[in-house]
Symmetry: C2
């Protein structure tokens, strides 16, 4: 089943059921995605029936336009972002000549993100260029209710939906913020999620061990920048990431957990880039770390006005699963905010 | 105007208008507090009319029982907690023989807290004793919509409600978590808010410069433990704390911002305690820091099974403004979670 939220109605938008091929949508009786998640046992059958109708009858529904979409949850009660691809962390540490603590391999890194006001999958990123504007292409899941102490296995069973996310990151603000000791805040502005969220069964064999075993495709200004496999080198699966939340508290239906920047282990700067046969990168910071490791300083600039990042995932037959996130950076309009 | 949320209806409870003296309540047409905040311009007049009726007619309404209350927002889209009383930070640093960075006096400390599932003002805290269970008594505000780049003055105008909060903290989990660099996560479980949230005008002259100029009273197992004035030594007011959020993104209606542990500048361990004429402390960590500074190590234990913390604020006439938070620690039931 594929679900989207249209920019209609109130702050939470209007839930839409989208055909498997992303060509058409129909409006269910349930108004918002959060309402469906709040009572999933009741909701899923009714949504699935409409989804099956849409797929069976090519004449049913209205044309689906990802440009009319909010993030599936325009605002959420929880957005917790992990950093499960330790290759990314290893590169960060190597670039600054420090070791990865042993605990990082059994205790997930996770930060609490702002979830009150996401941007949409086709919205602009408003920021100042001196903030070091970067993207982070990730996979994310939406869970049902989990009680304090839930195990990774219980948490895996509670995964309701899978999405993609561009976790916009302001690299220039991170060092001062982390030095304060309280974690990310201003350096992690509003994230953008894929036009469509899908139930895990839509992924077929690609959904195994609470991971998505498909390449995540990142395009920067029209050029393929990365396509690492999200199922590889993921040290903690989504069940484990969700269970990290529930060690000390409940997690309520609609909790979104991110995988962290997808990153596959590769060799060197030359061999890791797409043009030289590597799988590339899911954020600018990663290629800048390779550059720092090999030449002492980064070369690739962060994003500037007009730069466009796209994030999507294709199935084994080349079909777009989630729709494409397309975020353009706007640093000029930003001045109106000041 | 005073508002509460009863443990009735769905996940968001049932909004109630409470009489000024906290004796009675009536149910407005608007069902939940988030609905009221989403459309505050429309809602506030209708809620205020009911509030005025309740106060004018002592026979109107039902008996109000804080034990039937959720936190005013049982789940929220944002809970961002500042650390605006720098005396607390200065003591932390002094206890570990380090300096407070100069930037801390002009750039607020703030972490993103989990907001999907708060506990109620009279609910138990489920935790393991070895986690170092502590309370943090704070003031918090709920804001309306703020655009990216909002100034402290604009943010101050958008403050809709004031509450108290017990920001439960697990001190034993903090060092390892902060060492990972991503900030608090498991060490900050679900917070509890006061039974009642009030509009700033209810505070009269005590609401000045976006601060609450009244003592915050903390009682531990029936003994007064602290009553520092929340209007004193607050380096950043609530307008400034809200504006910290909006530097890089919007903040949506219903955003909750906390002050951090209220802490007044005092002299030494002896003079700071309530029994020796000081104003005491709003968390156990603070007296433990005085102990560490003076004797090399902390003496006061953290909370254990059955310990009860109460947080409240009285007006100039001794009337309870927000109702009392009463949280008991339960470490035995915790084992059922494991």
């Amino acid at each position: 089943m594929k679900l989207a939220t249209l920019k209609q109605g109130g702050r939470d938008g209007r839930l839409a059921v989208v055909s498997r091929d992303l060509s058409r949508y129909a409006l269910p009786e349930i108004f918002t995605l959060q309402e469906a998640l709040d009572d999933w046992d009741q909701a899923q059958g009714r949504l699935k029936a409409l989804y099956d109708e849409l797929n069976a009858d090519g004449g049913k529904g209205e044309p689906f336009d990802p440009g009319q979409c909010h993030s599936p949850l325009p605002r959420a009660y929880q957005w917790a972002d992990g950093s499960a691809y330790l290759n990314h962390v290893e590169l960060v540490r190597k670039a600054r000549h420090s070791e990865v603590p042993a605990s990082f391999y059994h205790d997930p890194l996770m930060y609490q993100g702002g979830s009150d006001s996401f941007i949409g999958p086709r919205d602009e990123i408003f920021a100042q260029p001196e903030w070091g504007i970067d993207f982070e292409a990730e996979v994310a899941v939406v869970s049902g209710d989990l009680k304090q102490g839930a195990t990774p296995e219980e948490a895996a069973q509670a995964i309701r939906l899978v999405m993609l996310v561009n976790d916009v990151s302001l690299r220039g603000l991170i060092p001062d913020e982390l030095a304060k000791g309280f974690g990310f805040f201003q350096s992690k502005p509003a994230s953008a999620f894929s036009p469509v969220a899908v139930t895990p069964d839509e992924l077929g064999d690609a959904w195994r061990d609470s991971k998505v075993h498909l390449p995540l495709r990142v395009t920067l200004n029209g050029n393929l920048f990365g396509y690492p496999n999200a199922g590889q080198d993921m040290t903690f699966n989504f069940g484990q990431l969700l269970a990290h939340i529930t060690k000390t508290r409940d997690a309520e239906a609609g909790t979104i957990v991110g995988s962290g920047t997808v990153s596959n282990k590769q060799n060197d700067l030359y061999g890791s880039s797409v043009e030289h046969g590597g799988v590339g990168y899911c954020c600018l910071a990663e290629v800048r770390m390779y550059e720092t490791i090999e030449s002492g300083k980064p070369q690739t600039p962060f994003m500037d006005h007009g730069d466009v990042v796209e994030v999507e995932m294709l199935d084994a037959n080349g079909n777009n699963i989630f729709g494409t996130i397309i975020n353009r950076v706007n640093t000029q309009y930003y001045s109106e905010f000041k």
